[in-house]
C-alpha cells in the first residue's frame, strides 16, 4: 500500500481487489484478441478490456505519470499499420496465392486493432481524468 504525501491513498479493498484482478484482465484481453477469428470477440472487444486496465489503474492510483502524448503517437502508429497491412496482404494478392496465410493475417489484424483501440480509449479516458479542469488530482 503506497502511502505518502504525494500519493493520496485509496481504500485498501479497491487496491487489493483490482490488484488481484489486474493480470487476469490483461490475460483475458489478449486471449479475446488472439482468438478473435474463430470465437466471439476480436480486436475491438479485447481492446476495450485493455483500455479498462488504464482506468482501473487510475482508480486505485490516481497519479499523473503516464505520458499520454506518447500513448497517442503510439496509437497513431498502430492506426497506420492497420491501414498498411491490408494493403500489403490484399492488394498484392498474397492471400489468394497462399490460403494458409489467412489465419495469420486475421490474427495480425486483430492484434493491431486491439492495441490501437486499447491505447485510443485509454488515452481518451486519461485525458479526461487528468487534463480537464485545473489539472489537480482528486481522491475519494
Amino acid at each position: 500500500m503506497i502511502q505518502d504525501e504525494q500519493h493520496p491513498t485509496e481504500s485498501l479493498i479497491l487496491q487489493l481487489a483490482i490488484g488481484l484482478l489486474f493480470p487476469f484482465m490483461l490475460l483475458f484481453g489478449f486471449y479475446i484478441i488472439a482468438n478473435g477469428h474463430y470465437t466471439p470477440g476480436g480486436g475491438f472487444q479485447g481492446g476495450g478490456i485493455l483500455a479498462s486496465l488504464f482506468i482501473a489503474r487510475y482508480v486505485i492510483f490516481p497519479v499523473e505519470d503516464i505520458d499520454s502524448e506518447k500513448l497517442h503517437s503510439l496509437q497513431r502508429i498502430f492506426l497506420a499499420f492497420i491501414l498498411l497491412v491490408p494493403l500489403f496482404f490484399l492488394f498484392s494478392g498474397i492471400i489468394t496465392q497462399f490460403p494458409l496465410l489467412r489465419k495469420p493475417y486475421l490474427t495480425i489484424m486483430d492484434i493491431l486493432i486491439g492495441i490501437q483501440v486499447g491505447f485510443g480509449l485509454g488515452v481518451a479516458v486519461l485525458r479526461f481524468a487528468f487534463f480537464q479542469g485545473s489539472g489537480q488530482t482528486w481522491h475519494l
Binding site: G42, Q45, G48, S52, V125, A129, G133, W138, H139
Partner: protein, 192 residues
Amino acid sequence: MIDSFILMVMCLFALLAIQTRLLRNAIIHLAVVSLLAAFLYMRMAAPELAIAEAVIGSGLVTLLYLAALKRNRVYTIAIVGNGETSRLADRYMHHIERTNALHEIRQFFLVREYEVQVVFIPETLEQALRNEAYDLVIQEDDSGIVAYTDDESYVMMELEMLIQMRGAQSDLRFARYQQTGATLQLIDPSAG
C-alpha cells in the same frame, strides 16, 4: 419467459438509476442494466455483441463515470464517540443517524448534489480535527450535538448559516476551529 423477466428487471434498474439521488448508486444501476443487456444478447445468439456490451457498457463506461465522479468532491462527515460510548459503536452510530441534526446535514448536501459519506471513527476529537480527510466532525455531548467545522471552508459556513436560519428546531450547535501549523485553536466554541 426468461427474456421478458430480464427485460422487466432492466426497466426496474433503469428507473432506479434515475430515481436515486446519489450519483454513485445511479452509476452502479446503469452498470447492472448494461450487464443484463449483455446477457440478453447472449440469449439471442449474438455473443460478439454481448462481449462488446459487457466490456464497453458495464466496464469502461462505469469506470469512466466513476472517474468523473471522483472529480466531484466527496465530503466526509466523521462521528466521534465520547468516552464511554465508544465501545457501543454500532448502537451509538444508529442513535446519531436517527437524529434530526444529521438528517438536516444530509439534506443540505443532497440538495446541492454533493456526495457525502458518514463515517464513525474511533479516534479522539483532537485527532479527528487534525485529520484533513474529514470535512465535518460531529460529537455528541450533554447538551446536544456539536459540529466542528474548519474556519476556511465556505461550504461548511453555508451549512452553518442555513441551519442557524432554520432556528432552534434541531439540537445542533456549531464550533469553528482554525489550524495554523501545529496548533489547533477553537474559535468561539459557544456559537449557535
